[in-house]
């Protein structure tokens, strides 16, 4: 039981750290496509770590099965939503600003 609590604590701590990093990244990155990257960190790795860290709390019960269900669903839908969001933004004409020193490309 001690090992379970230790594992749970480590996974939850790492997940909480990644959540804070992603939250800062969403606010500090310069434009939309880089913010998408920060949100992707939260959506996949942080949620996987937090949900895996909750599993030792429930033990081998129905709760762990439901946690695995939520985890699998999030791992399928979050990258899909991120990809569709980037695709929709690109198709609607949002372009990233040119890097400093780079000649702005002409719209074709």
């Amino acid at each position: 039981m001690e090992l379970g609590a230790l594992t749970s604590g480590i996974l939850l701590g790492l997940g909480a750290l990644l959540l804070l990093i992603g939250g800062v990244g969403i606010n500090r990155f310069p434009h939309f496509y880089t913010r998408l990257h920060a949100a992707g960190v939260i959506d996949t790795l942080a949620s996987a770590l937090v949900l895996a860290g909750l599993a030792p709390v429930f033990g081998l019960t129905l709760g762990t099965f439901k946690l695995a269900l939520v985890l699998v669903f999030l791992l399928f839908t979050s990258p899909t939503a991120c990809h569709a969001l980037a695709r929709a933004a690109h198709l609607s004409g949002l372009r990233e600003p040119p890097a400093p020193g780079e000649k702005p490309s002409s719209p074709s």
């Binding site: 939250g23 969403i26 949620s47 999030l74 933004a89 719209p107």
Partner: protein, 91 residues
């Protein structure tokens, strides 16, 4: 550690809300709202573990489902509304 994770989720939710209010384009707002929804799912699961009940996980699963469908629907709506219908392929 459960309480620390819950507080971290709440802080991250606040930061996402900040981006939702601030975001220069509508895509930033959709991104932040989607991220907020994912963190809500995590928060519901953490509260369920805190109280030792598995009922909350059903709610979390349902919230994840509705969050995904809502994001995609909003995205499709904004995309077709932002694009003029018969002006050809932009860019």
């Amino acid at each position: 550690m459960l309480a620390a994770a819950g507080v971290a989720i709440l802080v991250a939710m606040g930061l996402a809300l900040f981006r939702t209010l601030l975001g220069p384009t509508v895509w930033d707002r959709i991104l932040a709202v989607n991220s907020f929804g994912t963190k809500t799912v995590l928060l519901i699961a953490v509260i369920g573990a805190f109280e030792g009940r598995t009922d909350y996980l059903d709610v979390a699963l349902l919230y994840a489902l509705i969050n995904f469908i809502g994001t995609v629907a909003l995205m499709k709506y904004i995309e077709t509304a932002a694009r003029p219908s018969s002006a050809g392929d932009p860019g």
